[in-house]
Symmetry: C2
Subunit: 560 residues, 2 copies
């Protein structure tokens, strides 16, 4: 330890002091990566800024939602002043289990972004679908010992929590024994159930209405106001800042699409929007720095002597106009450095055999048309139950149920892709709007099997085999051009090997191709990713068949 | 884990919600020691209260200041709604080292009070005086692994911190490695030194002026506003609540005399005074609950589902009028239970041989009067340098320096009592005001040797031997009655074996006896406890001789 000579850097500006809750002119001395004091001292370099804020922390997010590696994510958000994320590698865990979680954390060494993990608590999401990985209570206990584990990740199995199921409560106990918090996921829960859940869960980021959020705050939850690419809840929830002590509130994104990530970064957008909505700028910054740091006992998120020099230098606070970002005292650490490539994660996770069209079709011996159950995709990842009518046609000597384009009831399939049974769930989807061709993805919450849907089984098989070749991704087949447009996601079938810019461009190309063949469901091609999510209502298709989630059981596709 | 049938207890009242920062009507369900939810549910017992607040946490205190065991302390404060303390067993450590610290923590099992320890960081306070115990960096590292260790205790060796001394920085590193905070002790420090200290220290409780406290808040310290028996800083500092985010502030006592403890409890008095001074009651309660819990990552200090049921039921909030107290769901746990007695700590720590008057006198061969250096006790534990004149008299055939009652320059001695060299430091003290007799104590910060002062060496020896017989305590000898009045403190020479009431009564008796023989220094007999504290200016007497603290060296008593 030495302590003489000029410091490395002096930053002068108006400090957003998240401790005192005020703006204050300060000269901030930085040496050896650390903030060493306030006050003008001799320095090797001086930077003047209008405003200086602590590096932002996203209170809850999933890197996988952006379909890039964590190092690409870091390169995208650090220049916007996001220097840390609290992430839950829930999707990777579903594909690769605890080893994948470890590999994902290893990737975090390739970025200046400080990634802190909440250990996935609810993998698999159900027993109805085959996943690649599972994280049981023993694995949770082990993962909680990781250097970067700071909490148990969002607990989704609320029924199991309420039923005092041993397995989930062992996971919760593992966190509690270490003095770590437990993230919750309690959308729309109120009343006595909320109280019972509040005993075990410390945070929630799922509120969509003010009264719901207030009830959670009253129940002792740390309430995270979510402003992601899809779920934008700040407008509805922002008044909470006026009615409860804002120290209990934080900002998070939950998920950012790769296009939004490239255009505008991460949780910085939530801070900016909070300010636009009238939140005091210092309070807004507190909600994405010290408030998060206190929940998870993080050593950053404040500008004070002794803290790591993670700072954002801004020319304007209200518009969050960033001039420079420091992480551990390094100025603009992602600038001039070629983004790290590669990944510790595997690229061979799509294992099914080559698909023939007949693998995706439901055989039917009688005459058509036949009444079938279909998941109607109504947008926002919701489905409704639909009963439709589809024709029976002969294909290669076999009678199969085919799509009914007039009513927009089209075949869909979910192919197990993790080296398990390799079986195919076959069913129907309504409301995609496809005129021709097929779409498919290996990003399919939570089991991330391969989901394909299309006008013909031939087109669907083409897409499935394309995804098989690439090791996963998003794919659109247009029979007019005879071309597939693909975003390859070879890493775990979830993440791109490219940069954020490359991935965003490829995503735009795939979306454009999907538009061209008529895909018109509100969420676009990403809506496909939720058609197999058998833990939220109503009909969802798994590799093991169609589930009526509200009934909690498999149902036949054909209505007898 | 079970979850059926009526809960143990329902508490209905206006909740002081330290999360939302508001008052709110609530029914609080308690089962199996835990708060299990808000909302009326069937209960075995219902208690109605006007107000319900979380049990208070004293952010920084030394139990030893009250001269009772921690279980007696708990019995005294729990009925006032103080259910937890963050204590620093600094005095015990000086007498008994790490083993004593462990024994002290073991005693905490005998009280419902939740005692959390900050590990003494600065023992011994200096190398100039012999102590009974030392806590080096290896011992700190070991003690930080204790179940109840939550921080490194107040770091007093500021010069060593600034000089980047290895030993103190190893102690700080041991806390940092565990993610634990480091308490500071930075009275009056400002400017660049404050900034440099702020790198290493997280809290401070020593501010006496508003500007000083503000500077510490600006430097990132958690600022504790102290309101103890002796140091009452709330009046001067309370405006800080208006000018910085109060989440950064907390309340502490540092020390409570046994009389104040008996009369009025602990940090509850600081909460009440803050409210009297105009602090919003919810804010005042936050400053003694959740704010402390967040600094030390404590699992209590909030009323929320999942938290232990540590609650105070009040008939009036502003006056802090307590009706019932719950700790882990037990109602009024100290009522109807005879206070625990005994202690894991030893009672044989006063080891010096029987003292003869000549042991306490300075021999002098020349004629009198002689000019001597004397510590002038001016109150508030401060001393000033004084040069006085004392006579030379013959005692048992030897010429010795005696007291000069006209000028109130009286002999004083510090007897090593920890089984070390057993030597005696001899000197003079001014301004005690004694007319006759002698006073003595084994409570003598920080080394806690035996300090005696008196009009004659005979009286001083009488006191020293009385303390030797009792294994320590406070003692007054009045030659008119020929009686000693003693508060025995046999546990480590610091703590009483009696109840708080018995100890307070004995303390009052000793104080009265001291008054009767003329002791008139402002702090009364406790002023004696600081005359050997060789780390604060100016003259202090140690068992190894007189120290001029500002000069940092021993000086001769006799001015040549």
């Amino acid at each position: 330890m030495t302590d003489s000579g000029p410091v490395d850097l002096l930053v002068e500006g108006t400090l957003v002091d998240v401790h005192t809750g005020q703006l204050a002119d300060r000269a901030i001395a930085v040496d050896d990566g650390e903030i060493v004091g306030f006050g003008a001292v001799p320095a090797m370099r001086t930077i003047e800024a209008e405003y200086v804020a602590p590096g932002l922390i996203d209170a809850h997010m999933h890197v996988e939602a952006s379909m890039v590696t964590i190092h690409q994510y870091g390169d995208a958000v650090v220049p916007h002043g996001v220097t840390a994320v609290v992430h839950d590698p829930h999707e990777i865990a579903n594909v690769l289990g605890p080893d994948g979680v470890r590999d994902f954390c290893a990737d975090a060494d390739r970025t200046p972004l400080k990634a802190r993990m909440t250990v996935p608590s609810s993998v698999p999401a159900s027993k109805r679908q085959d996943t690649g990985g599972a994280v049981d209570s023993a694995a949770v206990d082990e993962l909680l010992d990781s250097d970067d584990a700071i909490a148990l990740g969002e607990v989704m199995e609320l029924d199991a929590v309420l039923a005092l199921d041993d397995e989930i409560h062992e996971k919760i106990a593992s966190a509690r024994e270490r003095g770590l918090p437990v993230d919750g996921h309690v959308p729309g829960v109120t009343g006595p159930e909320l109280q019972r859940l509040a005993r075990f869960l410390d945070t929630d980021h799922e509120s969509v209405e003010l009264a719901e959020a207030r009830a959670k705050a009253d129940a002792g939850f740390h309430v995270y106001l979510r402003e992601g690419s899809t779920s934008k809840n700040l407008d509805a929830l922002v008044d909470l800042v006026e009615t409860v002590d804002p120290r209990q509130l934080a900002l998070c994104t939950d998920e950012r699409t790769v296009v939004d990530l490239l255009d505008d970064g991460g949780v910085n957008t939530a801070v900016r929007k909070a300010i636009e909505l009238g939140v005091d700028p210092v309070t807004a910054v507190q909600m994405a720095t010290v408030n998060v740091a206190e929940v998870y006992d993080l050593p950053f998120g404040r500008i004070e002597p002794g803290a790591p020099a993670d700072m954002v230098l801004l020319s304007a606070l209200d518009s969050w106009t960033v001039e420079h970002v420091l992480v551990d005292g390094v100025v603009d650490p992602t600038e001039d450095t070629p983004p790290a490539t590669g990944s510790a994660l595997p690229t061979d996770t799509v294992t099914f055999d080559r698909i023939a069209p007949s693998d995706l079709a439901i055989e039917h011996s009688g005459p058509g048309p036949v009444t079938v159950r279909a998941a109607s995709a109504v947008g926002s990842f919701r489905t409704e139950r639909l009963t439709g009518s589809v024709p029976v046609e002969e294909r290669d000597g076999t009678s199969v149920l085919c799509g009914n384009s007039d009513d927009d009831v089209l075949p869909m399939a979910v192919i197990e892709r993790h080296g398990g049974p390799g079986n195919v769930g076959r069913g129907f989807v309504h409301n995609l709007g496809l005129d021709r061709g097929a779409v498919g993805t290996t990003v399919a919450h939570d089991a991330h099997n391969c989901v394909v849907a299309g006008v013909t089984h031939d087109a669907m098989a083409r897409v499935a085999n394309e995804l098989r070749e690439f090791g996963g991704g998003l794919c659109v087949f247009d029979p007019e051009s005879e071309d597939c447009t693909t975003l390859p996601l070879p890493i775990a079938g979830l993440l791109s090997e490219g940069t954020t810019a490359e991935t965003a461009a490829a995503f735009e190309a795939v979306s454009g191709a999907a538009d061209a063949i008529g895909l018109s469901v509100p969420g676009g091609i990403m809506e496909l990713s939720y058609l197999a999510l058998e833990v939220i209502p109503t009909y969802r298709l798994t590799n093991n068949g169609l589930v009526d989630v509200s009934e909690g059981s498999f149902v036949d596709v054909v209505v007898e």
